[in-house]
């Protein structure tokens, strides 16, 4: 590895002892010997297996649930429905005051997406749990569903989630997160060219090799040890405490070993119901997603739509940018209101634009609830922005890299959300990229700096 020491030499200490040196990973010896204990490697005598009965409909009213046949199935120990869950309606981000609580641990009266958990079956073997789950009879009244974000925002669209009362997340700023900077319409009016483009993405599944799950063991002192592959240990502990109405000191979470997460294991889905099963049966409980559940049930990255309208001058300056972003939360919030908000801050990109208008909507549809995944709220937006940048460069006949040098933010520039730029390094990164990719740009760009204008 080469360290480029000519950049930022005056603000950087060169007493680096670790960077550039290989250091053994502390977890590798366990991995190569098979000794690393993943949650599913815990096995307890008398452990029960939990399987979910899931909604086959995208949107339906539950008229009745009949578990009588399932209860008679050999090996079945306990069957749980909504009424068994002490605090059944929750939302993960309530811990940081982002409400309302909008999601049920087990569906109560209604299902809002295909795959939603309705009934939990606990049995002596995985097979018995699976077979009994198939014997649970649920009478559904199918309701109209909505799968498209713009359709969901139209008046008269089916209401996805009554806890919100409308098909978008209501921010303190209203129906969307808003950024207003300068006068975007005046910017368009004065621009040489205006280009509006629409970009759209589908949900993406993380597909970790280890599926989501947990193993819960009741301890002798009325505490429960939960071995889990959550990526969000304390979020999960605190939400489990709320859902179970159980003080946190009754819950002992053991984790940190995750067989691939990528953001897909930050939701609080398997732990509360498995702990409840262990509490009500007094026995250890294993709840592990099948591969099919991992692919179909676990939260994906949200589908997004990004509409970008830019005003650009022939000399390469972007003078106005208007962005409308839509994040498909699916039926429940999980982390999506936060993701959509991140997009609002991010959409100007690492560019200095004097007139900016941004609206980002977090929209509810009858699709699988989406949540975190690697830079969610930003990654799809970056794809859209950088494709847009290439299109703008082509429009004015300019080299796409030189076009980015002209618009790159530099220290002291005011960003659209009114944070002055500090510690920018985009120009230096692009200078290195120009060399590394053998994509030459004019000398004046190679002598620019993030520190000061006028180069």
């Amino acid at each position: 590895m080469e360290l480029r020491k000519n950049y930022f030499a005056d603000v950087r200490k060169d007493d680096l002892h670790e960077i550039g040196q290989p250091r053994a990973r502390s977890d590798s010896p366990g991995h190569v010997t098979g000794k690393t204990a993943f949650f599913a490697d815990r096995n307890f005598p008398g452990m029960l297996h939990l399987k979910m009965v899931r909604s086959p409909h995208h949107h339906a009213r539950i008229r009745s649930i009949d578990t009588s046949e399932a209860e008679k199935h050999p090996g079945v120990v306990k069957i749980l429905t909504a009424r068994d869950v002490p605090h059944n309606v929750y939302t993960i981000l309530i811990l940081i005051q982002i409400g309302p609580e909008d999601e049920t641990v087990l569906a109560d009266g209604k299902v809002r997406w295909k795959g939603e958990a309705v009934v939990a079956v606990l049995a002596e073997t995985e097979r018995a749990a699976q077979e009994a789950a198939a014997k649970v009879k649920i009478d559904y009244e199918v309701l109209p569903a909505v799968f498209d974000m713009e359709e969901a925002l139209k008046p008269g669209a089916p209401l996805v989630n009554e806890y919100h009362g409308q098909n978008y997340y209501l921010y303190d700023s209203g129906e969307c997160r808003k950024v207003r900077f300068g006068d975007v319409e005046a910017g368009f009016a004065g621009a040489d060219y205006v280009l509006e483009q629409s970009y759209q993405s589908s949900p993406i599944e993380h597909a970790p090799t280890e599926t989501t799950g947990c193993v819960v063991a009741p301890e002798g002192n009325d505490r429960f040890t939960c071995y889990t592959n959550t990526q969000a240990m304390f979020f999960t502990l605190d939400n489990a405490s709320i859902i179970l109405q159980m003080p946190g000191n009754k819950l002992h979470f053991v984790g940190g070993t995750v067989g691939g997460g990528f953001g897909g294991k930050v939701d609080v889905i398997v732990e509360p119901i498995a702990i409840l099963g262990a509490k009500l049966t007094g026995r250890p409980v294993s709840f592990i997603y099948s591969r099919e559940e991992e692919m179909q049930i676990s939260s994906p990255r949200a589908a997004e739509k990004v509409v970008i309208k830019d005003g650009v001058m022939k000399d390469g300056r972007i003078v106005a940018r208007k962005v409308t972003g839509y994040t498909d939360a699916g039926a429940y919030s999980r982390h999506s209101p936060y993701g959509a908000q991140k997009g609002a801050g991010h959409y100007p990109g690492p560019y200095t634009i004097p007139n900016v208008w941004i609206d980002t909507y977090c929209v509810y549809t009858n699709r699988t609830p989406s949540s975190a995944m690697r830079g969610f709220g930003v990654t799809i937006g970056d794809f859209a922005l950088e494709v847009q940048m290439d299109k703008l460069a082509r429009l004015i006949g300019m080299d796409p890299l030189e076009f980015r040098f002209i618009n790159a933010y530099r220290d002291g520039d005011m960003k659209a959300h009114r944070q002055p730029t500090e510690g920018a390094a985009l120009i230096e990164c692009m200078q290195e990229a120009s060399r590394a990719a053998n994509w030459p740009v004019a000398e004046k760009y190679m002598t620019m700096s993030s520190y000061a204008k006028g180069a």
Binding site: H31, T33, A40, N43, P208, V258, G259, G260
Partner: protein, 160 residues
């Protein structure tokens, strides 16, 4: 449910268990015998995390019924090091940073071991082919390929 007896050697030790007919070797090893080094990623033969060696051949333990393994010699990654000394493949996986989350690692090492047993000095293409049934969703394939090539080199140096 009726139980059937199974008897085989696991990493050189005699093992005997009564299992339900139809139990996979993966579940027998993990739940009955207590060797959790083979991992269950998909239980449908697509991810390779459950790979073990049966009588010298690489096999998916999630698609192998335990009762078909009577009299077999089974090897897993947990039995690879001898006397606390890491096998050259394990050493190479450490030295090339070929593990990330670690879930695919035991299966990768099994696949690599069968390759090196049959082909002590494989080409890069042969390594890629040998690992092609094993998914690393952290997508750290390049260091894994380097690890297998490094282990092959250190084996041939030791032999020389």
């Amino acid at each position: 449910m009726a139980k059937v007896p199974v008897q085989f050697t696991l990493n050189g030790s005699e093992k005997a268990e009564f299992i339900e007919s139809g139990t996979t070797l993966l579940n027998a090893l993990r739940d009955k015998i207590g060797d959790t080094s083979p991992k269950g990623g998909c239980h449908q033969g697509t991810c390779g995390a459950c790979s073990v060696i049966i009588d010298g051949e690489l096999r998916l333990s999630c698609l192998t019924l335990a009762e078909t393994c009577n009299g077999a010699a089974i090897s897993t990654t947990s039995g690879l090091s001898e006397g606390g000394v890491l096998h050259p493949l394990q050493r190479a996986f450490l030295d090339t940073f070929a593990t990330q989350c670690g879930f695919c690692t035991p299966g990768m090492i099994m696949a690599a071991r069968v390759l090196l047993d049959h082909t002590p000095n494989p080409s890069r293409e042969e390594v890629v082919e040998a690992l092609s049934g094993n998914i690393c969703r952290c997508t750290g394939y390049e260091p894994i390929i380097q690890a297998v090539l490094l282990a092959a080199r250190s084996n041939s140096q030791n032999a020389a």
